[in-house]
């Protein structure tokens, strides 16, 4: 594929940490390695993450001065992003924008605006949502409106795709028959296996169970609180190491206090991304009690670090590993206990080889492949014909009796606003970006500075 210029647009990016943040960064890095030009557009993190920054492998990041309202997401207001986005996309000669995460207002807005500049759109959904609470109903409608005119959607698991398709109403009517849109892809999340090398097993009778998770309700900490004392009572040689922080920490502390398990359960508090491997390699079993999970990258990291995994059977988790590397439990305390029992047996009998597990995960997942598959999606999008404004209006009207006209009005106002901006800030007066980092210059410079040191 011809090298193109890609803009990743999302509210969730470095310096915030998390699954989406890491995914966007890694994907950008591997796309740069494949010869594309990639920039990231996100909101600023005051006081010091403002303006334009460069990250390590020649990745340019624009921090737009928007204030996040809740959990690092900005307020969706549909228009205020356009002046920034227009300038950036024109200056950087962007061909395609790739928005991430369905709660990112910047991503939604970029998808709404980009057709004005002839820029193509791809969207990756990272999470699962329900359908029955007020927040979900509102955000799902927002998602459906945004995805109505998108060129391609990527989901991280098959379950995630089923969820996104229903939430975003990604169906087409061909000759009276409703089918799924062709442009919905499944590309799994992935990891860098080299960062999760297992440690050689220590000769010891103690079996350590590791839990690394945000300590929140959705992560199923209630199940952990219910099963941990039972596990400790049944197996005197089992220890628990729990990393992470969150509202449910207090429950864990209380449980430890009540059952006098201070010497058996270790609570580590928040763990930095760089320390994840060192925590994981303390143990031989990884326990995940999540109640919902779209992909479960933490499980994969644990399996890669040579741990045997016990997990609840939720969301996309059953898809990510073969059945012999993981024990599943239904989300109830008895079954989690049963699965942990099974895992302790497997590990104590030495039926699980950490190094073999590492090699297998290495064979299953790697970033080069994911970047290539994403590139194929870009290729399909660039080759497909672009929708005209009239078609966009017609498709937007299909959204519903109330939502349809509202979003159509927004679409048209957006066009007028764009024309106003064209008059106010003509393209001729703009400073275009001509110089850019590439791998060779970067390496050469690194070599040079190394010499002068």
């Amino acid at each position: 594929m011809q090298p193109i210029s890609i803009a990743m647009v999302t509210d969730f990016f470095h310096p915030a940490v998390g699954g989406v943040e890491n995914h966007v960064y890694m994907l950008s890095a591997y796309l740069i390695r494949r010869g594309h030009k990639v920039i990231v557009i996100t909101h600023s993190h005051s006081p010091d993450r403002v303006g334009v920054r460069w990250l390590a492998p020649s990745l340019k990041v624009y921090y737009i001065p928007f204030v996040p309202i809740a959990s690092s997401a900005t307020l969706p207001d549909f228009f205020t992003f356009l002046p920034y986005l227009r300038t950036i996309l024109i200056r950087e000669h962007i061909h395609l924008i790739h928005a991430h995460a369905s709660l990112s207002a910047l991503g939604h807005e970029a998808i709404l605006h980009s057709h004005l500049l002839g820029v193509r759109t791809v969207f990756t959904d990272h999470s699962l949502f329900g359908f029955d609470d007020a927040a979900s109903i509102l955000t799902n409608k927002l998602l459906a409106a945004t995805l109505k005119n998108i060129d391609a959607v990527i989901c991280v698991s098959h379950t995630g795709r089923e969820n996104t398709v229903l939430r975003g109403e990604l169906f087409e009517n061909y000759d009276g028959e409703t089918t799924l849109r062709k442009s919905v892809y499944v590309i799994p999340n992935t990891l860098v296996p080299e960062r999760f090398e297992p440690d050689p097993p220590k000769p010891s009778d103690t079996i350590t169970i590791v839990v690394l998770s945000r300590l929140a309700y959705r992560k199923g900490i209630d199940l952990l609180v219910a099963t941990a004392p039972r596990i400790c009572a049944k197996f005197p040689n089992v220890r628990l190491v729990i990393g992470g922080d969150g509202p449910k920490l207090i429950d864990l502390l209380q449980m430890r206090e009540n059952h006098l398990l201070q010497d058996r359960i270790e609570l580590l508090g928040p763990i930095r991304q760089n320390d994840v491997r060192s925590v994981l390699t303390k143990g031989s079993i990884y326990l995940n009690t999540s109640l919902t999970e779209s992909f479960g990258i933490a499980i994969l990291e644990a399996a890669c670090a040579g741990l045997y995994v016990v997990s609840t059977r939720v969301g996309g988790v059953p898809e990510i590993l073969p059945e012999d590397m993981i024990s599943f439990a239904n989300p109830n305390a008895d079954d989690v206990f049963r699965a942990v029992e099974e895992a302790v047996q497997i590990v104590s009998e030495g039926r699980h080889d950490p190094f073999r597990a590492h090699e297998r995960v290495k064979a299953f997942y790697d970033w080069d492949q994911v970047a290539e598959r994403t590139e194929n999606v870009y290729d399909d999008v660039i080759k497909s014909p672009q929708m005209e404004l009239w078609e966009r209006i017609q498709r937007t009207m299909q959204l519903g009796r109330f939502a349809g006209p509202i979003y159509t009005i927004m679409l048209i106002v957006d066009c007028l606003f764009f024309l106003f901006l064209e008059w106010l800030m003509p393209r001729e007066d703009m400073d275009f970006v001509r110089a850019n980092w590439d791998r060779d210059t970067f390496q050469e410079l690194a070599r040079k500075t190394g010499k002068t040191d």
Binding site: L128, F129, G130, F131, D132, S157, H158, T159, G160, E162, N163, V165, L166, L180, K182, S183, V184, Y185, V186, I187, P188, R218, G220, D222, L223, V225, A226, T289, L291, T292, S294, T312, V314, G315, G316, P318, E319, I320, L321, P322, E323, P331, N332, A333, D334, F364, Y365, Q369, R373, N376, V377
Partner: protein
């Protein structure tokens, strides 16, 4: 070995000649719509709506009692005695309902507590009534009507009409707010009355109607007493409210009766009709509900 439908759903192995937008035949197979959906039927809904009807009736009875007090049609002493009578009848009911659930000692302790707090409230209201009479006396009557109407609306909106949790010991925040709104409404209305006895009678009545009666109603709703009682009780209350409102204003009575009818019979019918639009979507992406014993 996973069966064929499952083998489409794996991410760790990639089919060489299968594009990423391939849709397997098992796509959306695990989707379930209206899975544990139990449709409502009309008459049970009407029975549930009785709680609402009763509450509206209480508000209207209260307001017409106030108007009568204000216009001196009603001797406040009679109202005090009626309140006491209502309290005793209500307490008798409460005791009858208690007989099934609690132990003897527990009931005895409850009785002593109830007696103590009723004496306390009685005395406190009596000593406070001169203060309450002049509390908002300087405010113009228009403001008082508007304020009390708003507060009663708030009371009706927030009241606890549920009959689900059998032993709901802790009151929910909204039902406490609702009670406070009603008591505040009666306090502001009390300032329009002529003498202290009338104020005392009105506030005592409002405590009966808005603090004690909803608890009894909730109790009746969740207890397993036959629906006949519920229906009879509702019928008595709404007839009473219409009868006491009728001499005061014909228009209000008509509107009020229409609202009563709508709430009791039309609203459940609308809900039953609207159920055909129900589309509940469930699947593997739902947040699991942890079972902890």
């Amino acid at each position: 070995m996973p069966d064929d439908s499952e083998s489409h759903k794996i991410l760790w192995k990639r089919h060489e000649n299968r594009p990423d937008n391939y849709v397997s035949p098992s796509f959306l197979k695990s989707l379930r719509t209206n899975d544990n959906f139990r449709p409502y039927t009309y008459w049970p809904l009407v029975l549930l709506a009785c709680a609402l009807t009763q509450h509206l009736a209480t508000i209207f009875i209260f307001v017409s009692v106030f108007v009568r007090l204000k216009e001196n049609y009603l001797n406040p002493r009679i109202l005090v005695w009626t309140s006491v009578g209502c309290f005793l009848t209500g307490y008798l009911f409460w005791e009858l309902l208690d007989r099934t659930g609690l132990s003897h000692e527990h009931r005895r302790a409850n009785r002593v507590k109830a007696l103590k707090s009723s004496i306390l409230i009685f005395l406190a209201l009596m000593s406070l009534s001169p203060v309450l009479r002049t509390l908002t006396a300087a405010t113009s009557s228009d403001s008082i009507w508007a304020l009390s109407a708003t507060l009663f609306a708030l009371n009706a909106l927030l009241a606890d009409y549920s009959s689900l949790s059998p032993f709901n010991a802790v009151n929910r925040l909204t039902s406490v707010l609702s009670m406070n709104a009603a008591i505040s409404a009666s306090v502001v209305l009390a300032s329009r009355l002529a003498n202290d006895v009338a104020v005392f009678a009105l506030i005592l009545f409002s405590v009966q109607a808005f603090a004690l009666f909803p608890r009894l109603r909730h109790r009746l709703g969740v207890s397993s007493c036959p629906p006949v009682f519920q229906v009879a009780f509702t019928l008595i209350l709404s007839c009473l409210s219409i009868i006491v409102t009728m001499p005061l204003s014909r228009t209000v009575t008509w509107i009020y009766s229409a609202v009563q009818f709508g709430v009791t019979f039309l609203a459940p019918a609308v809900l039953v009709w609207a159920q055909k639009f129900k589309n509940e979507i469930r699947g593997p992406w739902d947040v699991a509900i942890p079972k902890v014993n």
